[in-house]
């Protein structure tokens, strides 16, 4: 009847290393899916991925069109000023239609769902940021080794 048992031991660790609007979602969605299914989930935000939980940037992430072969417009045009902003606005609208929450709301939702969010110490140092620059849902700042220790036995996804 139930499908628990082995699942109880599963856990998921997601490493978010990219800060573009389109690359922010996969990690958040996967961690959320894990929580909905009863799997413990933790996220480690490193390098550009820190932007996802940076107070100043969380509402302003941009789509990455240049150098993206999946971009729906020619590379020459994608690089023109304002084009990425336009495309990002378009995508935001489409996501709203599908009822996918904006990043800030998504991060809050993950916290409410019991996922643990961590910032990467080295990335913070590199960008001259402190924990106070991150949204309050970030539980702690860790080294990569700390994150590895808490990920023992977990499935790790790098994005």
């Amino acid at each position: 009847m139930t499908d628990t048992g082995t699942e109880k031991k599963r856990s998921l660790s997601v490493i978010c290393s990219k800060g573009s609007f389109d690359m922010a979602y996969p990690g958040l969605i996967l961690a959320n899916a894990a929580r909905m299914a009863g799997v413990p989930a933790r996220l480690f935000f490193t390098f550009w991925g820190l932007d996802i939980v940076n107070k100043k940037k969380i509402d302003h992430l941009h789509l990455n069109l240049v150098g993206n072969p999946s971009a729906p417009i020619p590379a020459m045009i994608a690089g023109l000023p304002g084009v990425e902003a336009l495309a990002t606005a378009q995508m935001r609208k489409e996501m709203e239609r599908l009822e996918i929450p904006p990043i800030r709301e998504f991060v809050e939702m993950l916290d409410d769902a019991g996922a643990d969010l961590y910032g990467c110490q080295m990335a913070l140092d590199m960008f001259k940021l402190t924990k106070d620059d991150l949204v309050p849902q970030v539980k702690d700042v860790l080294t990569a080794m700390d994150f590895m220790d808490m990920s023992e036995g977990a499935q790790i996804i790098f994005i």
Partner: protein, 99 residues
């Protein structure tokens, strides 16, 4: 209908939504270690209503908004995989939504 005679799919979701009753929900919940209170019922009935209207099992965000139950509370009411537990107890299929 007794729990033994119940038809479910391979993952344990009720095969036929009409086999569902409140009594059955109580039994299923007990089996999962949950004692149903008013808050649980509000969530379960909302999930069932959305599935009835749209034909697709809702994810947690939809259930949370419609039932005006915060996500945090839903995780407290149905610990250990609320999306799955709600669908199973409410007698609806596994949610297709990722949210």
């Amino acid at each position: 209908m007794s729990l033994e005679a119940l038809q479910t799919d391979a993952e344990g979701y009720l095969a036929n939504r009409d086999d569902w009753s409140e009594e059955l929900a109580k039994e299923l919940a007990t089996q999962m270690g949950i004692e149903l209170g008013d808050e649980h019922w509000k969530v379960l009935k909302t999930a069932r209503a959305i599935e009835g209207e749209s034909g697709s099992s809702p994810g947690l965000r939809k259930i949370s908004k419609r039932s005006e139950t915060p996500i945090k509370s839903i995780y407290k009411l149905f610990p250990d995989g609320p999306a799955k537990l709600i669908a199973k107890i409410a007698g609806i299929p596994k949610p297709k939504s990722c949210l």
